[in-house]
Point group: C2
DNA sequence: TATTGTTATACTCTATAACTATA
DNA sequence: TATAGTTATAGAGTATAACAATA
């Protein structure tokens, strides 16, 4: 989503750099994740489940912003890969506890550090520690501004 | 694509803010674009075509990073909406010139300023002009770092 | 031989609405 | 009545490979 022109506006001139920086980051990251055999949505689910004792579909949906009908399909494919299981919750027989299998947990533990290590050099190459420290609060304010919409 | 933990690393601590800021921006932007009747891919194509005399599929693909097989479908849907046309190129009978119709051009002229105006207040609310100026080169370096991958 | 664009194929994500089972 | 999750449906984007027309 790029707005051409409008580059002269002091605020809108930030649009392009923001979009381009994120997309470059995202594409590199996605390539790496897909090279490990996961889609973005699947990665997000694994990320959400990793290190927990399991979550319900509702909780997972809130964490990943995937709606429940869509989630069923994503979970099906991860289950077919043997990465997670669904188990009944006692106390509420409507609910399901979604949790990583040992295979899924192993993948989580491998994939996350691997992905972080993959990303890190790009940040190091681009920015000094000082600049990172400068940038963080600005990004957070930007997030909060858009989230209040 | 969020990496939990790793927040203590001075570089990787930037990951979450970057992703969250962009996603908040992107979601607000996408909602607005979809409220105008376009998908993101369609918006990107209109953005690329707007203000030009037309582009070939190859050029459009390079600009939007949509592969040619996918592009055909996106163009079909925009053509069905009466927003663009395909015309033969003389000189190379393999090539097609994709260009906005007057309806498409009118939409481009309406949708772009509208979208920019929609986004602007969020930036103004979040950042000072000084901060925007600070941030731009950092984002560009980040982009270049990831693009070289 | 190489390039342009379409077609065919297949998969994933996406949302919504209807549904079942349970609360 | 409300909630949890699945199923059904439909549409959009995605890539790849095969193809026809042209260069």
């Amino acid at each position: 989503m790029l707005i051409k022109d409008y580059r002269k506006d002091p605020y809108l001139s930030l649009l392009r750099p923001l979009v381009e920086a994120y997309l470059a980051f995202y594409r590199a990251g996605t390539r790496h994740i897909e090279s490990m055999g996961l889609t973005s949505a699947q990665f997000d689910v694994i990320a959400e489940l990793g290190g927990t004792d399991g979550l319900t579909c509702v909780e997972l949906g809130e964490g990943t912003l995937i709606t429940k009908g869509t989630l069923t399909g994503v979970l099906d494919r991860l289950e077919a890969k043997g990465l997670l299981t669904r188990e009944k919750v006692k106390g509420d027989r409507r609910a399901t506890n979604i949790l990583l299998t040992s295979k899924g947990e192993a993948l989580y533990k491998k994939v996350f550090p691997a992905h972080a290590e993959f990303l890190k050099p790009f940040f190091e190459q681009a920015l000094s520690k000082e600049e990172v420290k400068q940038m963080k609060p600005l990004l957070k304010r930007l997030r909060d501004s858009f989230e209040g919409s």
